[in-house]
Symmetry: C2
């Protein structure tokens, strides 16, 4: 089995402004697995705030050695080989995990959701993210984005109420809000959340820095809206630790190491009574279409990443239908490179 | 899709003696799903101590109505229909769940372990159960049973040390012991376990009645051997509750409602740091071969149920190879009815 590794720069349609900074590009790594006439695709995006570099991911991927008696259906053995090679670098594992699952589905001839026995009718609507901006810019954007039934607002600054009010000028669609660790005072956060609960807001992501465990637990005990851990949640151990600290967890393939880990995290979260949000980075339709395959297991979906980039190299994956991202019926993840159009 | 429901009486090769009683038969229910030329098989055994009757299971199964737009790969929708019909009756759901998974595998053309991406090289050896008997009978049986690398002893009476010593007269193979709630005094139990730890015993199942949560937690904190909950563990919620009470959990398809639930329980147990034992009832090679498909996920395996019955109506499923029960490569669960031999 041949692995190709390709650094790639995602160009954002609009500058992406968060509480922690702004950017116009996201580094990513694309991988391909070639095996017996099949080509499988994987990807991971590397937003700088996570601290993982394109170089480190490419170098880790180059170390992978597959088992001699390679069986493309033996994901356990293949993922063990991948883990052994990349070590503690979840995004490298995520790219391989997605490609291995794509190959798995292509060998069998079924999309992944079908191989997991999932019901696509259970997929929740996906939210679409409006990045931090002036009230005027938010009003303009909220009016423009009509295909999504839920809007997500990046908050965590000093103008949070003005931002929500601006969007509410234009639409009564439900909102989710993401503080991205941008809040600092827990009483002020609780006051704000009380107000947000009257604005048809569904949930609040990561109010404070993840190391403020007691403050999150305090807020979770009192908040009228679900408090969802995001930056705090990278592994199944983090899901277990989230009980009593958050109402729910945001699970992203790039953070946790891919579909295998995300599937386990969704199962464990449900068992522990935690709500689940399936999220993403700004990334291509490859990683998005992979995550969509798991989305019947999630309570909320925030998989707008491919809609935020201008140079998606893939096509044919998940499609937005009536506000829901729905996987296509093609085997595996379901995407193909645009260059191969017509093949 | 047509469902056939057949009450069946399992005849035991030898009377099965537990701390709670003895019996020579086990009631069971066999089911078949007929769909587009495929026939899928399911089963549940109903040992009387669990309190579920053959009649109740058959009546519940007869209530099942499949979705109109039935898709055999949409296990979520099919299991939801099954659950809705059978209600809170895990064994009825287990029989349907096994048959639905068998059909799922047959439609796709792969054994279930492959569809879960599992590595059969990780399957642990299975234990073989010696029922309660005189030291002489135990010595005889221990010498006779040579194909299994681990023996399991049913304890919980007044002659536990004598029973273990009798087996130790004949073999130094590792033992697991199952008290089946038969112990009553926690200090005496801890003393006995201390002695068992010197006898190459691997684990201890269900020392006391499951409602004695504090006593199990006390014992788990002090025991040199892993304490495994069995009768206490019927659902994923029981797995969550087992943390701090037991070192591990015994997961059986008949108790929990089948492969879907068992898979989730194995995942959750591992996330919580609990050990996992995949167990069984006295049952045919249908239910055993179903459980074997999940066994790469378990720390220990106790799937001797089909070896204990004299009238197994199935063949061709999991095979005992060097002490390990290994699934066959046939699609789905992998068994076929003996009457169909040669077809």
């Amino acid at each position: 089995m041949r692995l190709t590794i390709c650094p790639f720069t995602l160009e954002l349609r609009e500058p992406f402004v968060l509480a922690v900074g702004s950017r116009t590009e996201t580094p990513a790594v694309l991988v391909e697995l070639h095996r017996a006439g099949l080509v499988a695709y994987g990807e991971v995006a590397l937003p700088p705030y996570l601290g993982w570099t394109q170089d480190a991911v490419c170098q880790a991927l180059a170390r992978v050695v597959w088992p001699h008696d390679l069986d493309p259906l033996n994901l356990d053995a293949l993922l063990a080989a991948a883990s052994a090679a990349v070590g503690d670098l979840p995004p490298a594992l995520a790219a391989l995990d997605i490609a291995l699952h794509d190959l798995f589905g292509k060998v069998i001839g079924q999309p992944l959701y079908a191989l997991w026995g999932l019901d696509v009718a259970r997929i929740p609507p996906t939210s679409f993210t409006l990045s931090i901006g002036t009230p005027e810019a938010l009003r303009h954007k909220a009016a423009q984005v009509t295909a999504y039934h839920i809007l997500k607002l990046k908050l965590g600054g000093s103008h949070d109420r003005a931002a929500v009010a601006a969007v509410r000028d234009m639409t009564d669609r439900p909102l989710s809000v993401d503080a991205n660790q941008g809040w600092h005072d827990r009483s002020a956060a609780l006051d704000l959340i009380g107000w947000l609960a009257e604005q048809n807001v569904l949930l609040v992501e990561q109010p404070f820095s993840p190391n403020r465990v007691d403050d999150h637990a305090w807020l979770t005990e009192r908040s009228p809206l679900p408090i969802i851990g995001d930056e705090a949640i990278r592994s199944v151990a983090d899901v277990v630790a989230a009980r009593g600290v958050y109402h729910g967890v945001n699970i992203k393939l790039a953070k946790c190491g891919g579909l295998r880990a995300a599937h386990a995290m969704l199962t464990v979260a449900r068992a522990l009574g935690l709500k689940t949000l399936l999220g993403c980075m700004t990334e291509t339709s490859c990683a998005i279409s992979a995550a969509v395959q798991l989305s019947p297991l999630a309570d909320w979906v925030d998989l707008d990443g491919a809609a935020l980039i201008a140079n998606d190299p893939f096509e044919g994956g998940a499609q937005l239908i009536d506000g829901r991202l729905v996987p296509c019926s093609a085997p595996g993840v379901g995407v193909r490179p645009k260059a191969h159009r017509g093949s």
